[in-house]
C-alpha cells in the first residue's frame, strides 16, 4: 500500500514547525540561563552543547535524502536547506563561544590554537567548507551554479566526517568515546544507505 506522494506545498507547511524545533536548543539555553541551570561553568557548557547540537542538526540534514528514498517522498527535500542552515547556525555559535571564552577574541591566539592543536584544526577544516555551503544555499546560487552546486554540496560528507573526528579527538584525552562512537555510527549508516542506493541503481540500470 503506497502513501500518496506529498507535494512540495504539503511538505512546506511543516517548515514553521521545523523552524521552531530548530530553535529548541537556543531556547533551552536561555531558559537554563534564567534558572541557574548552565552548570558552574557556563562557557564550557555552552561551547559543548552548541557543538553537540550542530552535530545533531548535521545528522538530521544528512538523513533527509535516505528518508526521501525509503519513504518514496522526494518532496521532503524542501526541509533540507533549513536543517543544514541550523547545523551551520549552531556551528557558528560553537565557534564564537571558542573565539570569545577560550581565545578572548584574539586572532593571534585563535591562529595559534589552530596550528598547535589537531582537534581545533580539524574542527576548522570542517567549518570552512560549511561557510561555502551556507553562502551558496540560496535558490539563486543553485540556479547559477548548475551542476557545480551539486559537486560543491557533496563536501557535506567530508564536513560530517571531520566533525565526528573533531568530537572524537576532543574526547580522546578523557578516553571517553561513547558519544563520538554513537555519532560516528549514525553518520556511517547515513552514508552507507547512500552507497546501497547507488549500487542498486547501477545494477538496475545495467539489467
Amino acid at each position: 500500500m503506497l502513501v500518496p506522494n506529498w507535494t512540495a506545498g504539503q511538505v512546506a507547511r511543516f517548515k514553521p514547525a521545523i523552524f521552531l524545533l530548530g530553535l529548541y536548543p537556543l531556547a533551552r539555553w536561555i531558559w537554563l540561563g534564567f534558572t541557574d541551570g548552565l552548570t558552574a561553568n557556563p562557557p564550557e557548557f555552552l561551547i559543548r552543547s552548541s557543538g553537540i547540537w550542530a552535530l545533531v542538526a548535521l545528522g538530521l540534514t544528512l538523513a533527509v535524502t535516505p528518508l526521501r528514498r525509503i519513504l518514496r517522498q522526494p518532496a521532503l527535500v524542501r526541509v533540507r536547506r533549513m536543517l543544514g542552515l541550523f547545523a551551520f547556525f549552531y556551528t557558528v555559535l560553537h565557534l564564537l563561544g571558542w573565539a570569545f571564552w577560550e581565545r578572548g577574541w584574539s586572532l593571534t591566539s585563535m591562529w595559534q590554537d589552530i596550528v598547535q592543536r589537531t582537534f581545533i584544526l580539524v574542527g576548522m577544516l570542517a567549518f570552512v567548507p560549511m561557510v561555502a555551503l551556507a553562502v551558496t544555499s540560496t535558490q539563486g546560487s543553485i540556479r547559477r551554479m548548475g551542476h557545480y552546486w551539486r559537486d560543491l554540496h557533496r563536501s557535506v560528507y567530508a564536513i560530517a566526517a571531520l566533525s565526528v573526528w573533531h568530537f572524537w579527538l576532543v574526547r580522546a584525552g578523557k578516553n571517553d568515546f561513547f558519544e563520538p562512537y554513537v555519532y560516528g555510527v549514525v553518520l556511517a549508516v547515513l552514508l552507507l544507505i547512500r552507497v546501497a542506493f547507488y549500487v542498486r541503481s547501477r545494477r538496475d540500470g545495467a539489467a
Binding site: T39, A40, P43, E44, R117, G173, K174, F178
Partner: protein, 318 residues
C-alpha cells in the same frame, strides 16, 4: 624553555588583616556568622545540605584574600569518574557511596604499618581550616576553604623507611554504588601518587571537610588529599589506602594518556596540554563575560614549593 617563574605573592595575602577580612566575607557568604560567635548549631544551610559541621581552626599561614568559590559550585561541579564523566554525575550519584565503616590502610615501606579507622583520623591532629586555590587540568579553578591537616602528620605516625621514596594513594572501589565503573574510562581503582618530599610538604593536606562541614561524598568523603600546586586530578578522593613505595607509582591518568597527563602535573602556565593552553583559567563563579584569569606557576605556591623541583626540566617532567 620557560624559566622557572616564581610569582610575587602580595604581602596582603598573608597579613592578618586580609585574613580577617576574607574570613568575614566568606562567613557572610556561607551564612555561618552565628556559628563563629559560638551561637548556631542548626542553621538552614546545614539543614539543606544535611552535612554535619566540622570544627576547624583557621590557619592564617594558609589563607588567601581571593573571593571564595560558592559552596554550591564546589559541591556540584566535580570530576569523580567513579560516578560518571559528567560534572554533575558526582553530585547526582555519590549519595550511594558508603563512607562508614571506613578504614585507611597506611602500609608499604614504613616501620609501623597500620590501618586507621576514619574516626581516629578525624582526631589524629587538630582540624585546620585552610583556603587553597584548586586548578583543574581542564583550565578552570576554584578557591576552596578545606578542613583537615597536613598529610605529613599521618605519615610521621607510620615512620616511612629510607625505601619509601614515593607515596601511592588508592581511591575506594564500590562498584554497586558507583555507576561510573561501567564506563571503563580508567583501569580502576583510581591511583594517584607523590614523591615523598611532595607528600611530606606541609601544603599537602588530608581533607575531611569543606566550608566548615564534613566533606560531601562528591568531593571525596570521608577523606581526600589536596595538593594545591598541582592539577586537581593529583588530589585523590575517598582514599582507602596510602602506600609508601620505592618506585614511582603508575598513576591512573599516566596509564590512560601519558602524553597528556604527567606524574608531576605541577600547575605550569608555560607547558600547554596537548589539547588546550594552560596559560589562563576560568575562575568558576566569575560572571558570564568575565575574562579568563592568568594561571600562576605552581598555582601561586612557587615560594613554598619551587625548591622541590630545582634542576628539573619541568617541560619534560610535566
Amino acid at each position: 624553555m620557560t624559566p622557572l617563574r616564581i610569582p610575587h605573592i602580595a604581602p596582603s595575602e598573608i597579613t592578618p588583616v586580609a585574613v580577617w577580612q576574607s574570613r568575614r566575607t566568606w562567613l557572610k557568604q556561607a551564612g555561618l556568622g552565628a556559628v563563629a560567635l559560638g551561637v548556631g548549631s542548626v542553621l538552614p544551610a546545614w539543614a539543606e545540605s544535611g552535612r554535619a559541621p566540622l570544627k576547624a581552626t583557621p590557619n592564617p599561614q594558609y589563607w588567601l584574600s581571593n573571593k571564595l568559590t560558592s559552596e554550591k559550585d564546589i559541591t556540584s561541579y566535580n570530576n569523580f569518574y567513579e560516578f560518571g564523566t559528567g560534572k554533575r554525575d558526582p553530585v547526582d550519584y555519590a549519595e550511594a557511596m558508603q563512607t562508614r565503616p571506613w578504614t585507611v590502610s597506611v602500609e608499604g615501606e614504613v616501620a609501623k604499618p597500620r590501618t586507621f579507622d576514619i574516626d581516629d583520623l578525624l582526631k589524629l591532629a587538630p582540624m585546620e581550616e585552610r583556603i587553597y586555590r584548586l586548578r583543574c587540568v581542564e583550565a578552570w579553578s576554584m578557591v576552596i576553604p578545606w578542613s583537615g591537616y597536613s598529610l605529613a602528620t599521618l605519615l610521621k605516625q607510620v615512620e616511612p623507611t629510607s625505601k619509601g621514596k614515593y607515596v601511592e594513594f588508592t581511591t575506594v572501589v564500590q562498584p554497586d554504588n558507583m555507576p561510573g565503573f561501567n564506563d571503563r574510562v580508567i583501569d580502576w581503582p583510581y591511583i594517584e601518587g607523590l614523591r615523598i618530599d611532595e607528600a611530606m610538604h606541609p601544603l599537602t593536606m588530608l581533607v575531611f571537610g569543606v566550608y566548615g562541614k564534613i566533606l560531601p561524598n562528591q568531593n571525596g568523603a570521608p577523606m581526600r588529599v589536596a595538593i594545591p600546586w598541582k592539577y586537581g586530578f593529583k588530589s585523590g578522593k575517598s582514599i582507602v589506602k596510602i602506600r609508601l613505595v620505592e618506585k614511582m607509582p603508575v598513576t591512573s591518568w599516566v596509564k590512560t594518556a601519558a602524553n597528556e597527563y604527567g606524574f608531576y602535573a605541577n600547575v605550569n602556565p608555560g607547558v600547554p596540554h596537548p589539547r588546550w593552553s594552560q596559560a589562563t583559567e576560568r575562575r568558576i563563579g566569575d560572571s558570564f563575560f568575565a575574562p579568563r584569569v592568568e594561571t600562576l606557576m605552581f598555582n601561586g605556591y612557587g615560594e613554598q614549593v619551587a625548591s622541590l623541583y630545582d634542576g628539573m626540566d619541568l617541560r619534560r617532567y610535566y
